[in-house]
């Protein structure tokens, strides 16, 4: 089998997908990043290699997510793209004609507007992360319910309680007050979903025209309570695509397929990457008062990448060798 790899290294999860020549998703892997992106990527690749048939040929690799540059140098990526672009690519690939993408992930939430299959506008949460997956996770664990149960319980609500959704701190203390007043759990959970959707539409979706088909993706899309709250708020039905929680990786794989189209050989270093000894180290630069924390990625003994410097002193020194975008 021949195909393409998409790797999405986010702050919360690391996802890897494999698509074949026809572009069908064959394998998906979802792992917790746990603050160790390199190790997690290596682990994921190892697992993937075991799942794929032995004669599999990887013809191209794309990375995305906040760890895209790191993952890109470690595994040898043909394309490194931001998560907004890859999410848009994946959504319009899986749901042709999509015009609006609502995306809520661990740390960030975003809205992407497409017209005629091209991204025409987007926005990301600016200064606050109240309406994101991490906040929902936190509240679920505070209420002692599994995040998987969150949605189904909230659907049982009879009269959702109004929760202040402006910011995570307000929402949490408001919820505590409502709990103490004796409000039912389903009503509180449904109220929280409504508050988060309000927050999202006011802060992220602000002023954007939401046209159908509307797609809801990202980890939070698993929560049926959030889907219902969205539909109630915008008054149109919302679709959840297959692979909704690994869309970044799907998009990266599709882009990788494009990138190697002109028969450029892939830069992929092979599944053996899983066994190479990478280590990241960091040092504080003393060049000026910024005291930048410079991160270095070493492959065996050789430094292959550096970043974190504000002035470019360290990253530029290596960047001369090759420029990938």
């Amino acid at each position: 089998m021949k195909g393409y790899l998409g790797v999405d290294v986010g702050s919360v999860s690391t996802n890897i997908v494999f698509i074949d020549e026809q572009g069908d998703v064959k394998e998906t892997i979802y792992l917790r990043t746990c603050g160790q992106p390199i190790v997690t990527v290596q682990k994921g690749l190892k697992e993937l290699a075991q799942r794929l048939p032995e004669n599999t040929v990887v013809r191209g690799v794309g990375t995305t997510g906040s760890g895209r540059h790191l993952a890109g140098v470690v595994i040898g990526a043909d394309t490194i793209k931001n998560e907004i672009t890859t999410h848009a690519v994946a959504a319009s690939y899986l749901v042709p004609g999509v015009q609006t993408i609502l995306e809520i992930g661990g740390q960030d939430s975003k809205i992407i507007i497409l017209r005629n299959n091209v991204v025409s506008d987007f926005a990301m949460n600016t200064v606050c992360a109240a309406g994101t997956g991490s906040f929902l996770d936190q509240q679920a664990s505070r209420l002692n319910i599994a995040i998987e149960d969150f949605g189904p319980i909230s659907l049982k609500a009879k009269a959702p309680v109004r929760i202040a959704g402006r910011c995570a701190v307000f929402a949490e203390s408001d919820m505590i007050h409502k709990q103490q007043m004796g409000c039912a759990l389903p009503d509180i959970l449904a109220g929280l979903c409504e508050a988060l959707v309000r927050n999202y539409l006011n802060n992220v979706g602000k002023g954007k025209e939401i046209l159908e088909p509307v797609v809801f993706q990202g980890g939070v899309a698993a929560n049926v309570g959030m889907k219902k709250a969205f539909e109630d708020a915008i008054g149109v039905s919302v679709q959840i695509p297959p692979y909704f929680n690994v869309m970044g990786a799907v998009g990266a794989a599709v882009l990788a397929k494009d990138a190697v189209k002109k028969s450029v050989p892939t830069r992929f270093k092979g599944f053996a990457v899983a066994d190479i000894n990478y280590h990241a180290s960091s040092f504080e630069c003393s060049g000026c008062a910024n005291c930048c924390e410079v991160v270095e990625i070493n492959e065996n003994e050789e430094t292959i990448a550096r970043w974190g410097d504000r002035c470019g002193k360290w990253s530029n020194a290596l960047a001369k060798k090759e420029k990938i975008s």
Binding site: S66, K81, N82, E83, I84, T85, D108, N116, V118, V119, S120, D121, F122, A123, M124, T126, V127, K206, G207, K208, C288, A289, N290, C291, G308, R310, C311, G312, N316, A317, A319, K320, K323, S325
Partner: protein, 365 residues
């Protein structure tokens, strides 16, 4: 008297030139850095905007270097900036820093009000000398702006990564070095030579983005996380809606020097969307966006410090401007954050978006 002032981009070069020319001893605070911000945030009210925090940090660092007098701009109108000089001074007093404070209020009627303020600092210099000093400072501001504009053009086309950054620093040092207007002429030539020695790709297609918004965040690269450099590296030629020399001409010289792009013209362009003063640079933000769209720019990025009122007003109007004129606009709010990943993601996505739009437009044409 040892005079200091807050950092705002490369303003220090021209202020230092003016004051030293007039025989005033100057302490330039260290460039804005994490340390500056840490000092500032420790002592400023939490809800104040980042410019205040950085100013405060600058003054504290300058005090360590022996400064005893602060020159600070004042302001008027709906924006709270007008109070900054005074609140900063009160905070410093509480911390037992003994500073003299001189506030340069924007002249209400005539340039002469500004002259009188400068003369307070320089004591018994003649009017003629004072005017010559101001002119020298202004010439430096113009020179710095010119060099910076060159760097905006060159950076997206550079062949060796980082070469523009290096040359730009050298060129600025050249301009800073000049002690007299005569010397400056030679040093400007030298600075331009340094810039033109950077190897570039002449035919590389680049995208063009205009940066608009609150003046401090526009001018101080530390506060905007070096957005111009980041964009340049992504292959974008940037322009900025406000340059220091233009601001000086508009606000301190009251438009005395003609032929420079000015506030009135920009505000006129804003008229269909916003037709009265909202404080700060709110009107300019809208007007500049209109002008960039007319000049065929591919996109506009608005920058503002968190809680900045005039820019929030502008932010709420920009979607309409964007829709009407068909130009992509993105707003970035800055505060104390120093992580680059989030900013870079947004910039890359924005660049992708305008690149696609451009392609579509060209395919239609």
């Amino acid at each position: 008297m040892k005079v200091t002032f807050p950092h705002m981009g490369h303003m220090w070069i021209c202020l230092k030139a003016m004051l030293q020319y007039l025989g005033v001893e100057v302490v330039v605070p260290p460039s804005c850095s994490k340390k500056t911000l840490t000092l500032g945030t420790k002592h400023a009210p939490e809800f104040a905007c980042m410019p205040l925090k950085l100013n405060l940090g600058n003054f504290m660092e300058a005090y360590e270097l022996g400064a005893d007098t602060i020159i600070m701009a004042g302001g008027c109108g709906p924006c709270r900036f007008g109070y900054y000089a005074y609140s900063e001074n009160e905070i410093l007093k509480d911390l037992k820093y003994n500073f003299n404070l001189i506030v340069l209020e924007p002249p209400e009627k005539h340039f002469s009000e500004f002259l009188i303020k400068i003369k307070q600092i320089t004591g018994n210099r003649s009017w003629y000398q004072v005017i010559k000093g101001i002119r020298f400072g202004f010439l430096k501001a113009k020179a710095v702006d010119e060099i910076e504009r060159l760097s905006f053009k060159i950076r997206p086309r550079e062949l060796v990564a980082g070469s523009t950054d290096m040359a730009f620093q050298q060129a600025l040092a050249e301009i800073d070095r000049a002690k007299t207007p005569q010397e400056l002429i030679i040093n400007i030539e030298q600075a331009k030579n340094i810039m033109s020695s950077i190897e570039i790709d002449q035919i590389k297609p680049v995208l063009k983005v205009g940066i608009v918004g609150e003046i401090y965040t526009l001018l101080e690269p530390f506060s905007n996380q070096n957005i111009e450099r980041l964009l340049g590296k992504l292959g974008v030629e940037v322009d900025r809606s406000i340059y220091l020399s233009e601001w000086i001409n508009d606000h301190l010289f009251m438009g005395l020097i003609k032929k420079m792009s000015n506030r009135e013209e920009t505000c006129r362009a804003a008229r269909p969307f916003l037709n009265h003063f909202v404080g700060g640079h709110g009107e300019e933000t809208i007007g500049s966006t209109v002008l960039y769209s007319e000049k065929g720019y591919d996109g506009v990025i608005q920058l503002l410090p968190f809680t900045c009122m005039p820019e929030i007003v502008a932010q709420s109007i920009l979607p309409k401007v964007s829709e009407k004129l068909g130009i992509a606009v993105m707003t970035l709010i800055v505060d104390e954050q120093s992580g680059e990943a989030g900013l870079l993601t947004r910039l890359e996505a924005f660049v992708d978006l305008i690149a696609q739009k451009k392609k579509q437009k060209e395919a239609l044409a």
